[in-house]
Every structure is written in structure tokens, then in C-alpha cells.
């Protein structure tokens, strides 16, 4: 830590006053997909090609802008300038207080936006093939583009309010896309569950945001020294005590973390993510693996200065240790459940929850760079795995049960090869796969944590389980004999080419974060990246390499031993079930988390809903009915005056005039007479009111 501080000092802070051109136009990155989404929304259902072209084209343009921004940050970084350019503006003014929004270009946002655009673009292209037969193709791309825009908004936001708005928009699109096949009751229920569960976290996030605003008086993260994440504001928050002996900084950090827990499916709010697999597979890949669920991790990384406020070298803060423990627990918990699932996407979903736990733990233990590195590598290989799973499902005629597949390595060669790359990356096979380097960095940080070795043990055991369940899945799907019905076929090129590109990155991406050349970490921390081959010879690292190898060998070996090249029929008990029946049942039933919520939270809500319903019906309903009755009565009186007073006068006037023989002007004069009479009465009444009130 100390060394890092010194190195940072060698960097010049970037010029704050005038943002570069590319930073000025950063808003285009989220705006273009959003505009595209708006246009697609107006297209009619059969306009498939323009819809897909608009979505892909807009995201492609966003990717170009993002790459330009990234290149700008990198070029400044190579000149030893720590880039943090912000563009802020007043959104609205209420009295003396301004509500400000803005965006920020720094290494963190630059890396993230390139990843989101790139992975998103590949998934968009893949979706053209995957959704080809869906009649709501245009609606799908409308939502997908809106999601991309909102997600990129989260990434570039320099204002916690803007981040929150995009965050909610992301949640909304997630809801819409999980429930995309809303005619399936399970999809509709899953969408609702996702929306409601993440809302629990969002409430805390909102509280944290309001508290942060109250403490610092600004919604901006960075604003030339007056932002809420800058030393001045952080110092103020550290000095302010709040309840339970926390500082305001810790309390706000924990509230914001609660939002991240909801979005990133951490314990105890993980229950929605596996159910979210009801959505179309590209959605699972884009939203529930690569980007949106990582938004929680990104949020923690974004507010890391707040999380780590008051951090002493070699120490930790309350917020960071909470992040660590929650992350490590989630990593282990979800990996356990993943072992005993049979739905190909559910296994990956629990694996995602588990890996998000690793990222959180990485943030808590090793800082922004460690967590973010795993986020980036994971985004690539998990998107790859989901899209591979989609390809498998597509090829097996919408079958999702791994027990009804098998032997697909022959029919689906390309899918198998890319899937294997993704699986090996996820298992963390040493040297050649990116997952190894990023997971290794987390384990290294956990090993060096001075306070407890329990998280390290949890993460290591989780890693063994990861290798185990992935081996189980791959054995079921690609090895053994074909157990399904019909004939499996390979997917079209529009689906397999993105797979191949992702597979390349799932392997190659590790190169930017090796101990010998920690480019990624140096870039995020604004330090110089130096090539130092001796790092590979350090005993600590060699020991970790050994541990990782053991983890992978044990995990994959055990998996292969139990499942390799065997073809159990769907009815046959699982190999693990025969070995450890009670454990298997508990894991298969997802460790009863849903049931626990069912008898506690949901039962309470049911009871409370009944109470509220009673109150509504008999107490408030009565009040409202009374008010409504009053108003209706009043309106009736008005109408009566209109009909009998005004119109009556009119009719009477008509009658009089008709009797008098005035045929021509009867329509007008009758009515206007009474109008003018009323005008005079009103003047007299107003005057009377004035005189009466001024008397006293």
C-alpha cells in the first residue's frame, strides 16, 4: 500500500477544468442505444431487419466512442497523467439547492464501458440468430438497446443520482426481459421476483444516497475537490458519528453496498438471479452474467474511496470487511448449490452468483483492481458459457435439462470447443486461461489478509467446487451418449462466430493481469506498469500457483471420476446422490433459501397485506367514498345550476322571446342575458366580500 501511494504521487492529476473533446461527448455512449431503442419502439412488429440493424449499429457506434475514450485515457496514462475528467451540469434548481448530474472519464469507467459495449455487441449479434423465430423480435431489440443505454449510463455516471436513475432503468429492463415470454407463468413470476428482490437493496441504496447528499451537499462523485468522493467530503463524513458507533462514512457505505447486494445477487438477496434464467438466453448472458449483475460490483468499485475512507496501510475498514465476508460467503454458498442443479442455465446462474461473490471479496480484500479484473475476465467467459448454453439449448430443441443431453461434442464441435474454453477459464486452469489470473489475484489477496484466513479457506473450497460442478456439467452435456429425443444440430454462424471471439478473449485476456506485467492493476491505480519476469519466480506466487493447480486438479478430477463419459438416464439417481443422499437433497433444494423466505418474510407480508387490505376496505375506503360522494354531490349541484339556472334562464328567455315573436336571435340573447346577469352579480358579490372583510 505504501509503495502504491508513492507511485501515485509521481502521476500528475489530470486537468479538471477543461475536459477533452472525447470526454465532452461521452454522453453519446449511452444516448445512442437509448435513441435507437426509442426508434425501435415505434417500428411495427414485422420490421425485423431495421430493428436489429438499429440496435447493433448504435451499440457499434457506442463501442467506437468508448474505444476512443479508452485510447485517450491510455495515452494520457502512458504519459504519466492520471486521467479523471468530469463534465457536470445543473439538472434543476430548487430554491438555493442545485441538483447536478454529470459523467466521468477515468480508467475505471473507460475499462468498463469498453467491456459492456464489446460484450453487448457480440450478444446483440448472437441474438439475431437466437431470436430469429420469435414473433416479438423487434420488442426484444427495443428492450435490449434500452438496457445497453441504461447500463452504459451507470458506467459513465459521475453523479450518484444519475447512477441511481440508470440503475433503476437497468432493473426495469431486466424485469421486462426476464418476463419477455410473459405468457409463461414461471417467467412472469421470475420477473416479478427479480424486480421485488432487487428493490429491497435499492431502498437501502436510496437511503444511502439521500444521506450522502445530506452529509456532503453534493450528488457528484468528483467535482474539482468538492465532490462526495473527494478527500474534503470524506474527511467530513469520517468525523461525523452516527448510530451504533459507526461513522457516517461507514454507515453510508454499508447502505450503498446493500444496493449492490441486491443487484449483484449476493447473500441474502441472491434468490432472484437463478429464477431470472426464465428469460431468453442472450438476456441471461448479457444482463444476468456479464453486465447488469456486475453493476453492483462496479458500484462498490466506484464508491471505493468511500468504502475505504480512513483506511490505514495494511488495515481494513468496517465496510470493506463486510464486503469481504458477504462476498466470500456468497462464493461458497452458491458454488455448493450449483453442484446439485440439473438445468444447464441454472448451474451457470449459481456459478454467476458465486463468481460475483469472488469479485466482491476481491474488492474487499485487494482493492478496485483485483475485483474489477475478475469482473472483466468473468464477463467474457461467462457470456461465452451462457451463449454456448444457448447454442446447446437451441441445438437440442429448447431442452434445458443436462440429463437429457450428452455426447454433443460430436454434433456441435465449435460450440463444444468454445464452451470448453469458457469452462476451463471459469475453473481457473493455470497459465492459459484468463480466469486463472484473475481468481489467482483474489486468492493472493485473501491469503495476505491479516485479519482472518477463513475467507481464504472459503474461497479456495469454492474454487474446488467450481471446477467440480463445471466438470459435471460438461460431462453431462458433451460426453457420454446422446440421451435426448430428436437430433441435435450445430447453431448458425451468426451464433458461433461471437462464441469464437469470446473464447479467444476468455484465454487471452489473462495476459493483461499477470504478476509479471500487472498492466490492468497499474492502469486502474494510475501507476507505471513494468515488465518484471522475476515476479514469476517469487516463492509466494509459486505457492499460489501450486495451490491453484491442486484446486483445479482436485475439482476436475473428482468431477471426471464421478461423471466422466458416463450416461446416466434422467430417472437414475445422480452419482453424488448415491454417495451423499442428505447433502444432495439439501443442495438440490437450493439450501432452502426460498423456503426460508417463504415462511418468514413472505408470510409476514401476507399478514400485513391482509391487515392493510382490511384497513383499506373499511377505514380508508370509507373516507375516500365520503370525499368522492361529497365531490360528486358538488359536481351535481354545479350541473344543476348549469342546467336549471343558466340553461333555465336561457330557456325562459327563449320562451319569452318566442312568445314575443323574436325568432332570429333567440338562441344567443337568452343565454347571454343570464351570463351577463351573472357577471354583474359576481362583481357585486366580490365588492361585498371586500367591504365585509375590510370592516373588521
Amino acid at each position: 500500500m505504501l509503495i502504491q501511494e508513492e507511485l501515485t504521487a509521481a502521476f500528475h492529476p489530470g486537468m479538471q477544468a477543461c475536459a477533452s473533446t472525447v470526454a465532452q461527448y461521452l454522453w453519446l455512449i449511452p444516448a445512442m442505444p437509448m435513441v435507437a431503442s426509442g426508434i425501435i419502439a415505434l417500428l411495427k412488429q414485422p420490421r425485423r431487419k431495421p430493428a436489429a440493424a438499429l440496435a447493433i449499429g448504435s451499440l457499434g457506434l457506442s463501442l467506437l466512442v468508448a474505444l476512443a475514450a479508452f485510447a485517450h485515457v491510455v495515452s494520457d496514462w502512458t504519459q504519466h497523467i492520471a486521467v479523471r475528467e468530469t463534465v457536470n451540469f445543473t439538472w434543476m434548481q430548487v430554491g438555493a439547492s442545485h441538483v447536478e448530474l454529470g459523467w466521468v472519464l477515468d480508467p475505471l469507467s473507460a475499462v468498463m464501458m469498453v467491456m459492456v459495449c464489446f460484450v453487448g455487441l457480440l450478444i446483440f449479434i448472437y441474438s439475431v440468430g437466437y431470436m430469429a423465430h420469435d414473433e416479438n423480435f423487434t420488442r426484444f431489440f427495443c428492450f435490449l438497446a434500452l438496457f445497453a443505454g441504461a447500463m452504459l449510463g451507470v458506467v459513465i455516471a459521475n453523479s450518484i443520482l444519475l447512477l441511481f436513475m440508470c440503475w433503476e432503468l437497468v432493473g426495469l429492463t431486466s424485469y421486462l426481459l426476464i418476463g419477455f415470454w410473459y405468457h409463461k407463468p414461471s417467467a412472469a413470476a421470475a420477473a416479478k421476483k427479480a424486480f421485488v428482490t432487487t428493490r429491497v437493496g435499492d431502498i437501502f441504496f436510496l437511503l444511502g444516497m439521500v444521506w450522502l447528499f445530506a452529509q456532503t451537499g453534493t450528488l457528484l462523485f468528483y467535482n474539482s475537490g468538492t465532490g462526495s468522493l473527494e478527500p474534503l467530503a470524506l474527511g467530513g463524513m469520517l468525523a461525523t458519528p452516527s448510530a451504533l458507533g459507526l461513522t457516517a462514512a461507514s454507515a453510508i457505505a454499508l447502505l450503498i453496498f446493500a444496493g449492490a447486494v441486491g443487484k449483484s445477487g449476493q447473500l441474502p438477496l441472491h434468490v432472484w438471479l437463478p429464477d431470472a434464467m426464465e428469460g431468453p438466453t442472450p438476456v441471461s448472458a448479457l444482463i444476468h452474467a456479464a453486465t447488469m449483475v456486475a453493476a453492483g460490483v462496479y458500484l462498490v468499485a466506484r464508491v471505493y474511496p468511500l468504502m475505504s475512507a480512513g483506511l490505514a496501510p495494511g488495515g481494513t475498514t468496517l465496510a470493506l470487511s463486510v464486503v469481504t465476508w458477504v462476498g466470500a460467503a456468497t462464493a461458497l454458498f452458491a458454488a455448493l448449490i450449483a453442484v446439485a442443479q440439473n438445468d444447464i442455465k441454472r448451474i451457470l446462474a449459481y456459478s454467476t452468483v458465486s463468481q460475483l461473490g469472488y469479485m466482491m471479496a476481491g474488492l474487499g480484500l485487494g482493492g478496485v483492481a483485483v475485483g474489477m479484473f475478475h469482473l472483466i475476465t468473468h464477463a467474457f467467459f461467462k457470456a461465452l458459457l451462457f451463449m454456448g448454453a444457448g447454442s446447446v439449448i437451441h441445438g437440442c430443441h429448447e431442452e434445458q435439462d443436462v440429463r437429457k443431453m450428452g455426447g454433443l461434442r460430436k454434433e456441435m464441435k465449435l460450440t463444444f470447443l468454445t464452451y470448453a474454453a469458457g469452462m476451463l477459464a471459469l475453473c481457473g486452469v493455470p497459465i492459459f486461461f484468463s480466469g486463472f489470473w484473475s481468481k489467482d489475484a483474489i486468492l493472493e489477496a485473501a491469503h495476505g489478509w491479516p485479519f482472518s484466513q477463513v475467507p481464504y479457506a472459503m474461497l479456495v473450497f469454492g474454487a474446488v467446487l467450481t471446477a467440480f460442478y463445471m466438470t459435471r456439467q460438461v460431462s453431462y452435456v458433451f460426453f457420454g451418449e446422446w440421451r435426448g429425443h430428436g437430433h441435435a444440430h450445430e447453431s448458425p454462424a451468426v451464433m458461433t462466430v461471437p462464441l469464437a471471439i469470446l473464447a479467444f478473449f476468455a484465454m487471452a485476456l489473462g495476459l493483461i493481469g499477470t504478476p509479471a506485467w500487472p498492466w490492468f492493476r497499474a492502469f486502474l491505480d494510475s501507476r507505471v506498469a513494468e515488465l518484471d519476469m522475476h515476479a514469476f519466480a517469487e516463492p509466494a506466487w509459486l505457492m499460489l500457483l501450486g495451490t491453484s493447480t491442486v484446486i483445479v486438479v482436485v475439482g476436475i478430477g473428482a468431477g471426471w471420476l464421478l461423471y466422466g463419459n458416463k450416461s446416466p438416464a434422467a430417472e437414475e439417481p445422480d452419482a453424488l446422490e448415491r454417495a451423499l443422499p442428505p447433502v444432495w437433497v439439501a443442495l438440490r433444494d437450493r439450501l432452502y433459501a426460498d423456503e426460508l423466505y417463504g415462511v418468514t418474510v413472505i408470510a409476514f407480508y401476507d399478514w400485513w397485506a391482509r391487515v392493510a387490505d382490511w384497513l383499506d376496505r373499511f377505514v380508508w375506503g370509507g373516507v375516500v367514498a365520503a370525499v368522492a360522494w361529497l365531490f360528486r354531490g358538488w359536481a351535481q349541484v354545479n350541473r344543476l345550476i348549469d342546467v336549471h339556472g343558466v340553461n333555465g334562464g336561457f330557456d325562459k328567455g327563449c320562451d319569452e322571446l318566442a312568445a314575443g315573436g323574436g325568432l332570429i336571435s333567440r338562441v344567443q340573447s337568452g343565454r347571454v342575458q343570464s351570463y351577463l346577469r351573472l357577471l354583474a352579480v359576481a362583481v357585486v358579490l366580490l365588492a361585498a366580500i371586500l367591504f365585509w372583510s375590510s370592516r373588521g
Partner: protein
């Protein structure tokens, strides 16, 4: 009298009048043989060019307006409220002119556009007027134009009927107004707004207090007629129902903006003089029994009058709108309700430009929204021959865009965020509460908020028919291109200004030196 100076002040009005004459010459001269739609397009285009020209010459106006040299009395103002309102009037006039292009209620499009431009010139004068006589001339110029516009659908009996009603009611109100002005002149010996306000604090004015009360009541009646405040609103429903849709849109938007700009001028003159007097004399309202010197002043009497008008307008407008089955009448009564909200802002008028800015924000956005609403009503009327609620049944299926535009506009009128109508109400009520936290102010704001909730009900009544009920007639409604662009522009502006509320706020604030 410095006529060159006066001419410079009156440049925008002059531009409009010249444009009116050019329109007449072109339409009656060059295009006599052309098809109606060509003539309508050309006339509307020339009218828009005239508005643009008026906008273009506005920067040439001298600072400080026109002051009568020999007495030092102000006649016309430039900058500030006047400039903001004039720009608003010109923009809204241009929009209503474009509504004409796709309608065919009249053959006399040249005359129609010319009358609109002349009436708009009257509106510009009202927005800048600082003198009773100028105010009266401006009001008459505007009103006479409006009477003619209401009657413009010559083949329609309803149009003629409503025009005559409007004219009779307006004539009577003008008489009241002039009567009130004459009393005011009698009490203070001046026609300049600022001098009148000052004069009302003089001891000799106190003796004439019953006279002052009558004067202000009559002025309130005259101006209440212009802004359609209850109980002087009786003409509104008939006029909105009978007038051709573009004319009704003009009455509902431009005329409102001009009249409220005048009320802002009056309010500003009152508070500024009151502000100046504040430190010197103790201001007491009411009669004193023991013959102490009493300084009546303008402000407290006016406050009370406006409070009554505001409360009555909000209640009567919203409740009457509930019972309507014609969408035009519904919009008319909702206009009464909106006038009530704005009058509340005028009653509690701030020393700072806060209130003026909030009222301008409200009335400009309201005008914009109403033009769009009348545009939609006009299209539906042409397709179904009726503006009854039933005519809107299934609008979503017959024309999704039209239904979406109407949804945006009506939700904005009801004050639903993030549309601009929400910010208009929010700013206005916030301004009221920042001026006064008295029981009356808080109570009236609470009433206004409650009444906004009521208004949501009748707006949604229309939307329910548009979106939920099945159409009686399945045929699609074709949107003419100009109307399509206009409606889309208005709806998008309502959304965009709502999402970025600071755009319009800071634009208006710039006229008050940034506030």
C-alpha cells in the same frame, strides 16, 4: 413625444402588422386562383415568417422601454417580463398558425392569418404595457381579433353563436375594466402603473377607499374575463366549443400568455412601489374608526381579490370539468382551473422575480400543451365529426401516435412528472410558499394540489376511452404531415422540457438578470 424612439420600441408589433398586410396582398392578389391548401400553406408560412421577423427585430428595441418625455411616465417596457412574454407569444402564434394548414373550416385563409397576426400584435402590446390607456388599447386590439377568429367558420352556426356570446361578454367586461380604470385615474391622477401604485399610498387616497375597492373589483372583472377566471369564465366553454380549433388554440394560448404578462406587470409595479414605501410608512388596511391617517395601498386589496378568484376558479373549473362530455368543454373548464393556479401565484407575488418567472414558466408551457391538445381534438373531430368523449374511444387503435401525443399532453396538464406540467406546478407552488407561509397561502396551495388530483380524473377519463375502450369505427385516422410534425414536436418538447427542467427555467431567469 419622440416618435423614432417609440417606433423602435414597437418594432416587433410593426413587423407583425407588415406581415399581416403582406399575407393579405399575396393571398388576395397572387394566389387568387390557387388551390385552398396551397393558399393555406402559403399564408401560414408567411405568418410564421412574420413572427420570425418580429423575433429578429426584438434585439433592436432600446433598453428600458418607452417613457413619455414630458411627464416621465412609462408607456411600454422592454426586456424582462415583457421580452420573455413577447418571445413566448410569437412562438405560440407561429405554432397556432401551423395548425391552420391542414384544416378547411374557411376559404378566407389570408384574412384569417392577417387577423391572427394583428391580434398577436395586440398581445405584444399588452405584454409590454405600463400605462392604463396602452393596456386598454392592447386588450381591445387582441379581443377584437379574437371575436373575429371565433366567428371565422362562417358555415357553422355554433361558430357564429359562440362568437356573438364572446363578443357581448367581452364588451361588457371591457366596459367594467374601463370604468375601473377611470376610477383609478380619478383617485391617483395618473395612468402610469407605477405612479398609480405610489398614488394609492398617499393620504388623500385613503379617503377614497370605497372607490378604490369598486375600481379594483371592476378591473378584476375585466382582467378575470381575459384570463378566464371564475366567476368571469362563463364564455369559455361556449367559445372553446364553437370556435374553429386553430382559433380556439390561439385564444387558449396566446391570449392567456399576454393577459398573464399584464397581470405580472401589475403585480411587479405593486410590489416594487410597496417595497420602496415599506420602510417609510406603516401600511394598514381597512378603515380606521378614530380618523388616523390610513394608507390603503394596492397590494392587500388586490391580494384578497385574487385569492377569491383563484380559489373559486380552481374549484369551479375542476368540478365543472368532471361533468363534461365534450372534450373541448373539458379543456375549457380545465383552462379555468389552470387560471386559478396561476392567480394563486399572482396573489402571493414576490419582491424578487421568483413569482414572475414561475408564472411565465407555467403559462408558456400551458399554452404550448393546449395548442397540442387542440391539434389532437381537431384531427379527431375531422375523422369522427364530434368532440364528444365517445369520439375518442379506441383512439389508440385508430392512431397510436395521436393517442400517445394526447397522453403526454394530458398527463402534463395534470402535472405528472417527469413532464413539464409537473415542474410548472412545482415551481409555482414553491414560489407561493416562499412568499408566504400564512394559513391562507398554505391552505390555498393544499387546495390547488388536491384539485390537481381531481383534474387527473377527468384527463384520465379521456385517456381511458383512448386506450381501454374499443373503437366504434376501426378505420385508421390519417395524420396530415404538417399536423403530424407539429404534434410530435409539441409532445417531444413537453417531455424534453420536463426531463431537463433547468432549460426553460434558466432561459426565463436570463430575462431577470439570471436571478
Amino acid at each position: 413625444m419622440n416618435y423614432a424612439e417609440l417606433f423602435r420600441v414597437m418594432l416587433p408589433e410593426t413587423a407583425l402588422e407588415i406581415a399581416a398586410l403582406v399575407v393579405l396582398v399575396v393571398d388576395l392578389g397572387f394566389l387568387r386562383k390557387a388551390a385552398l391548401n396551397v393558399r393555406a400553406g402559403a399564408a401560414a408560412l408567411l405568418g410564421v415568417v412574420g413572427c420570425a421577423a418580429a423575433l429578429w427585430v426584438m434585439p433592436l428595441q432600446p433598453l428600458g422601454g418607452y417613457i413619455y418625455p414630458s411627464t416621465g411616465e412609462a408607456l411600454l417596457a422592454t426586456g424582462g417580463t415583457a421580452a420573455a412574454a413577447q418571445i413566448g407569444i410569437l412562438a405560440l402564434t407561429a405554432l397556432t398558425l401551423l395548425l391552420l394548414v391542414d384544416t378547411e373550416f374557411t376559404q378566407h385563409v389570408g384574412e384569417y392569418v392577417a387577423v391572427i397576426l394583428m391580434a398577436a400584435a395586440g398581445g405584444l402590446i399588452i405584454a409590454a404595457a405600463q400605462d392604463l390607456l396602452v393596456i386598454f388599447i392592447g386588450l381591445e386590439l387582441l379581443s377584437l381579433g379574437l371575436y373575429i377568429l371565433t366567428a371565422f367558420a362562417k358555415r357553422s352556426g355554433a361558430s357564429a353563436e359562440s362568437a356573438l356570446k364572446y363578443y357581448l361578454f367581452g364588451g361588457m367586461s371591457a366596459a367594467f375594466l374601463l370604468f375601473g380604470f377611470s376610477y383609478l385615474y380619478g383617485i391617483t391622477g395618473s395612468t402610469d402603473l407605477h405612479r398609480i401604485m405610489l398614488g394609492l399610498y398617499m393620504p388623500n387616497a385613503a379617503a377614497a377607499s370605497p372607490l378604490l375597492y369598486m375600481a379594483l373589483v371592476m378591473i378584476a372583472a375585466g382582467l378575470g374575463f381575459k384570463v378566464a377566471a371564475a366567476p368571469f369564465h362563463l364564455w369559455v366553454a361556449d367559445t372553446y366549443e364553437g370556435a374553429p380549433a386553430p382559433a380556439a388554440a390561439f385564444i387558449a394560448s396566446v391570449s392567456k400568455v399576454a393577459s398573464f404578462a399584464l397581470l405580472i406587470s401589475i403585480g411587479a409595479a405593486a410590489v416594487h412601489v410597496f417595497d420602496g414605501m415599506h420602510g417609510k410608512v406603516e401600511v394598514i388596511t381597512g378603515f380606521h374608526l378614530n380618523s388616523q391617517p390610513v394608507y390603503l395601498g394596492f397590494r392587500n386589496v388586490w391580494l384578497e381579490l385574487l385569492m377569491v378568484l383563484a380559489a373559486v376558479s380552481m374549484v369551479v373549473g375542476n368540478l365543472a370539468a368532471l361533468a363534461q362530455i365534450s372534450v373541448r368543454r373539458l379543456v375549457a373548464y380545465s383552462a379555468v382551473a389552470h387560471a386559478g393556479y396561476i392567480l394563486l401565484g399572482l396573489a402571493f407575488f414576490s419582491y424578487t422575480p421568483l413569482s414572475a418567472a414561475a408564472i411565465l414558466y407555467y403559462v408558456l408551457t400551458y399554452g404550448l400543451t393546449t395548442i397540442g391538445a387542440f391539434g389532437v381534438v381537431a384531427v379527431v373531430e375531422r375523422a369522427t365529426g364530434s368532440d364528444r368523449l365517445e369520439a375518442f374511444s379506441g383512439l389508440h387503435q385508430r392512431s397510436p401516435l395521436l393517442a400517445a401525443v394526447l397522453l403526454v399532453l394530458f398527463l402534463s396538464l395534470a402535472g405528472i412528472p417527469p413532464l413539464v406540467g409537473f415542474w410548472a406546478k412545482f415551481n409555482l407552488f414553491a414560489a407561493v410558499l416562499s412568499v408566504s407561509r400564512s394559513g391562507a397561502a398554505v391552505g390555498l396551495v393544499a387546495l390547488a394540489v388536491a384539485m390537481s388530483a381531481v383534474s387527473l380524473f377527468y384527463y384520465l377519463q379521456v385517456m381511458k376511452r383512448a386506450y381501454v375502450l374499443a373503437p366504434a369505427d376501426e378505420t385508421k385516422i390519417a395524420l396530415p404531415p404538417v399536423t403530424l410534425v407539429l404534434l410530435a414536436f409539441i409532445a417531444l418538447s413537453v417531455v424534453a422540457l420536463g426531463c431537463f427542467p433547468d432549460l426553460l427555467r434558466s432561459w426565463i431567469a436570463a430575462f431577470y438578470g439570471g436571478m
